[in-house]
Symmetry: C2
Subunit: 495 residues, 2 copies
C-alpha cells in the first residue's frame, strides 16, 4: 500500500466517523432546540445506535495498515490523524465494553438521584450512588493509564498532552495571586441594568447581529436558542451556536453569544477540506475554551467593545436602553463578589472554584480520598480559597453535575481556557496592536484574523501545549490572566 | 432458538434499522427547515453514510434464523415483520450495488439537467439524460421482477400487493366516469379569496390550531414550515408536519395543513410499541395518501368543516376575513378547470393526469415505448383525457420531477389515495354517521377514532388491498370517489 492509497483508505474510514459524529450532532441540536417531549426515548435510542456503530467502525481492523503508512508521512495532517486514530483506538480497546456499559448506567442513575437529592440537600442519597460511580471511574482511569497516573489519564480524555504535574504549579500560582485581588475587589462593580423589559425577539436579532459583526458566517451556520447556550459543529459548513434570552437582562444573552461565538468562530476556522479527518477539529476543550473566553472576556468586557455596541443596543431598545452609557454596561458586567456557586461566579473568583475542584478530584482518583470525605473537604477548601462557607450541600460539593455524571478531569479545562485566552490576548496585542485601539479603528476583524492564523487553521495538528506555545511564545502561565484581571477590574473601570 | 429468543434477536436487529431511519429523518427534517446552505454537501455525505450502514445492516446474515422462526409465529406483527424483512433483504440482494450507484448518479444528473432544461423547453437535453436513466430503470425492474412483470416490480416498491392488472380496470372506469364530470363542471367555483394580506405568523398559528383540532398530539410531534409541505416520522413520539404560507391566500396553508395532518395522524396512530419493528409503519404510499386525502377532501372541502372553521379564521384575521361566509371559502376552494399542470389541478381533474402518467410509464417500462416517444404521447393523451394541449414541454411531459429522478411506479399511489379515501369516507358514514352531522355535533374526533380503529392501529400487518378491504368492505373501486365528486361539486355547492 503506497502513501496515496493509504491516505485514501484512511480518509474514507475517517469520513465515516465524521459523518456519524455530524449526524449525532444534528440529532443533539434538534433535541436541544425543538424536539417534542414525547421523542426523548426514541432520540436516546437513535443516539445510542449511532454511538454503537461508531464504536464498531472505530475499531475496524481493516484500516490498521493504512494508519501505519500515514503515520510515517511528512504531512502534519496525516501524521496527526494517525496519532489521534491510534490513541482513540487504543482507548476504545483498553476499556472493556462491560465497563463502558456499567459507567453509562451508573452515571445515569447518579445524575437522576443527584437532580432530585440536591434540592433537599440529601448528601447520603447522593453519596450512595456516587460511591459505586467513583469505583467504576477509578477502574476506567486505571485501564486507560496503563501503569501511568490515573488522573492524568482522565485529563487526557479532554485535554490531551496536559498532565496534573504541568497544571499544579500554575494553579497554585494563580490561586495565590488571585486571592488578594478578590480581597481588594469584592463588592466592586455597578448596579445591574434597568429591568426593561428587553424584548425577546429583539434580543435574538441583536445576538445574530453581534455574531455577524465578530465574523460568524451565516451561510455556514446559524444562531439558535436553547435553555443552556451551546455551540455544535454539525459538519463542514454547519456550525451552530445558541444563546439564551432573559427579558430582564440583555447582558445574559449578549455575553452568552460572545462566549459561544468564540467557540463557533473556532469551528468555522478549521479548514473545510480537513474536516473529514481526525485532525480537523480543536485539539482540546481548553483550546476551545480559550476562544470563547477571548471573545467573552478580552473583547466583551472591554470599554472599546461597548463603545461600539452601545449605539446598537440603544437603537434596538429605544426605551429600555435610554440614557445608558458604555460605562453603565461595563459596570453592570464587571461585578465581583464572593459567592459559593461556580456557574454564577464572576471572572475574578471563577478560577478559585476550579482550583478547588481540580485538587479534590485529583485526591478522589489517585489520593485515596473517598466520596464520603468530599462534602467536608469541599467546604474547607472553599473557606480557604474564597473565605466563605456554603450554607447547604447544594451550594457545596453537590452543586455541579460533573461528578454525578462520572466526569472527572474536565474541570481544569475551564481554567486552561481562561489562561490561554489571556496569553493569546497579549500575543494579539503584540501582533496587531492594543485591543482597544484595534476595536476602535478596525473592529474585530484583525483579532479574528490573528486567531485564525495562530490557532484555528492548525486544527489538531499539534497538541494544545505546543499549539499555544507557538501561538503565544510562552508555556502555560497565570501571569497574563492575572494582569488582565488587574487591568479590567482596576478602580478606574469598576468605580 | 425459541420463539422468544428469535423475537428478541429480530427486534434488536429491526430496532437498529428503525434508529437509522429515524436519524436520517431528523437530518432530512433539519435540511428542509433550517439547515444553512453551506452544509448541503456535508449533509449529503452524512445521509449517504447512514444509508450505507443501513444497507449493510439490512443484509446482516446473523438474523436469518431468527427471522425464519418469527415467520412461523401466530402473532401477526411478528409474521408481518418477517415478511417485510424477507422482501427488503431479497430486494437488496437482487439489485447489485453497481446498479444502485449507477441509478443514483444518473438520476442526479437527469434531475440537474431537467431542472435547467425544463424552463427553456429543451426536450433534447432532457431526453439525452432520460434515455440512459430509463435503460438503468428497466434493468432494475427486471432484476426486481425475477421473471414477473417489471412495471409491477416497480409499483411494488411504493405500493406492495398492488399490480397493474388490479389498477388498470379501475383507472379506466375512473377516467370514463370523470370525463363527463369535467365537461359539466369546468369553470365551476367562485372567485378566490380577497388578497388580504393574510399575516404570515397568524397563518402559522392557525395551522397549529387546526392540527390540534383534528387530533394531532403536539407532545409527540410539531408543526413546522417548509417550501414544500411534508410529513416525516422521526421515530416513536416524533411526528412532524409542515405547511407553507402564502400571504395572499390562506387556503394554501390550511389545505396543506389538512393534507399533511392526515399523514401525521396516521403516523401518530401507529402503536408506539410496534414502531421499532418493520411492521410498525403504513403498508404503502397509497394507504398513507388515503389519510391525507380523507382530511383534505372529505373533511376540508365540506360545508360543515367550514361552518366550524370560518369563525376561527375571522377571529385570527379580523380585517382580511371580514364578511366572508363559509360558502365563500368553499367556492374559492372548489374551483374546477382544465389546465395542463398536475400539481395545480383541482380535485376533479387531478386523477386524469395520474391515469395518463400511469399508462405512459407502464409503456416505457414494459411496452417498448422509448423516452423519445414521450412528448408526443403525453400531449395526445392529455388531449384525449382532458381536452387540452400543453403549450410548451414544461406543461407537457417535462412537467414532473418523478421520471427525471428515476421514479417510475409511484404515480398510481396518488390516485389510490383518492379512491381509498372515498371508500373510507363511505365506511365512516356508515359507521359513525354522515360526516356533515358528525362534524357539526361532535367535531372531528369520531372520524379520527374510526380511522384509528380501521387503519392506523394495524400498522403494516396487512398489505394495503387487504387492509382496505377489511376497513371498507370493498375491493378497490372508483365508485365512491366519483359519487363524492358529484356531491361536492354539484351546482348547489359551487354556484
Amino acid at each position: 500500500m503506497n502513501r496515496e492509497q493509504a491516505w485514501q483508505a484512511a480518509t474514507a474510514w475517517m469520513g465515516t466517523l465524521a459523518d456519524l459524529d455530524g449526524a449525532a450532532a444534528v440529532l443533539e441540536w434538534d433535541r436541544e432546540t425543538i424536539m417534542p417531549p414525547g421523542a426523548a426515548d426514541a432520540r436516546g435510542a437513535q443516539l445510542a445506535t449511532l454511538a454503537g456503530l461508531r464504536h464498531r467502525h472505530l475499531l475496524d481492523e481493516g484500516v490498521e495498515e493504512a494508519l501505519a503508512v500515514i503515520a510515517e508521512s511528512d504531512d502534519p495532517w496525516q501524521v496527526a490523524s494517525a496519532r489521534i486514530a491510534a490513541r482513540d483506538r487504543d482507548r476504545a480497546r483498553r476499556v472493556p465494553e462491560s465497563l463502558v456499559r456499567a459507567l453509562t448506567e451508573q452515571s445515569s442513575r447518579t445524575v437522576a438521584v443527584w437532580t432530585e437529592a440536591r434540592g433537599r440537600g440529601d448528601v447520603a442519597a447522593w453519596l450512595a450512588e456516587l460511591e459505586p460511580l467513583v469505583a467504576l471511574t477509578r477502574e476506567q482511569a486505571a485501564a486507560l493509564a496503563d501503569g501511568g497516573d490515573p488522573y492524568d489519564a482522565l485529563i487526557d480524555l479532554y485535554e490531551p498532552g496536559t498532565t496534573y504535574a504541568m497544571l499544579e504549579p500554575v494553579l497554585s500560582d494563580l490561586a495565590q495571586r488571585v486571592r488578594p485581588l478578590v480581597d481588594a475587589l469584592a463588592g466592586a462593580g455597578g448596579p445591574p441594568l434597568p429591568n426593561g423589559p428587553w424584548d425577546d425577539a429583539t434580543q435574538m436579532a441583536l445576538a445574530a447581529d453581534i455574531a455577524r459583526d465578530i465574523g460568524f458566517d451565516e451561510r455556514r451556520g446559524l444562531v439558535g436558542r436553547t435553555a443552556h447556550p451551546v455551540t455544535m459543529g454539525l459538519g463542514p459548513g454547519d456550525t451552530r451556536l445558541s444563546t439564551r434570552v432573559d427579558t430582564a437582562d440583555p447582558l445574559s444573552s449578549i455575553m452568552a453569544l460572545l462566549h459561544e461565538g468564540g467557540h463557533a468562530l473556532y469551528d468555522q476556522g478549521i479548514p473545510d477540506d480537513r474536516r473529514r479527518t481526525l485532525a480537523g477539529d480543536a485539539p482540546s476543550l481548553g483550546a476551545h475554551e480559550s476562544q470563547s473566553r477571548f471573545w467573552e472576556n478580552h473583547v466583551g468586557r472591554s470599554a472599546a467593545f461597548w463603545e461600539r455596541l452601545a449605539p446598537s443596543v440603544a437603537a434596538a431598545f429605544p426605551d429600555a436602553a435610554a440614557g445608558l452609557t458604555p460605562a453603565d454596561y461595563l459596570r453592570a458586567l464587571n461585578r465581583v463578589e464572593r459567592q459559593p456557586i461556580r456557574v454564577e461566579s464572576d471572572e475574578v473568583t471563577y478560577d478559585l472554584h476550579i482550583v478547588l475542584r481540580t485538587r479534590l478530584e485529583r485526591q478522589i482518583i489517585t489520593g485515596g480520598m473517598e466520596p464520603a470525605d468530599l462534602p467536608a473537604a469541599f467546604d474547607e477548601g472553599l473557606a480557604e480559597l474564597l473565605g466563605i462557607t456554603p450554607a447547604t450541600p447544594a451550594e457545596g460539593a453537590m452543586q455541579d453535575i460533573h461528578w454525578a455524571a462520572g466526569i472527572f478531569g474536565y474541570f481544569p479545562t475551564y481554567t486552561l481556557g481562561n489562561l490561554y485566552a489571556a496569553q493569546l490576548a497579549d500575543a494579539a496585542e503584540a501582533t496587531v496592536g492594543p485591543i482597544a485601539e484595534v476595536l476602535a479603528s478596525d473592529g474585530t476583524a484583525p483579532l479574528l484574523a490573528f486567531l485564525r492564523d495562530r490557532v484555528h487553521r492548525h486544527g489538531r495538528t499539534m497538541e494544545t501545549p505546543e499549539l499555544m506555545r507557538q501561538a503565544t511564545g510562552e508555556d502555560l502561565t497565570a501571569g497574563p490572566f492575572v494582569a488582565h484581571l488587574e487591568r479590567t477590574y482596576s478602580t478606574a473601570s469598576v468605580s
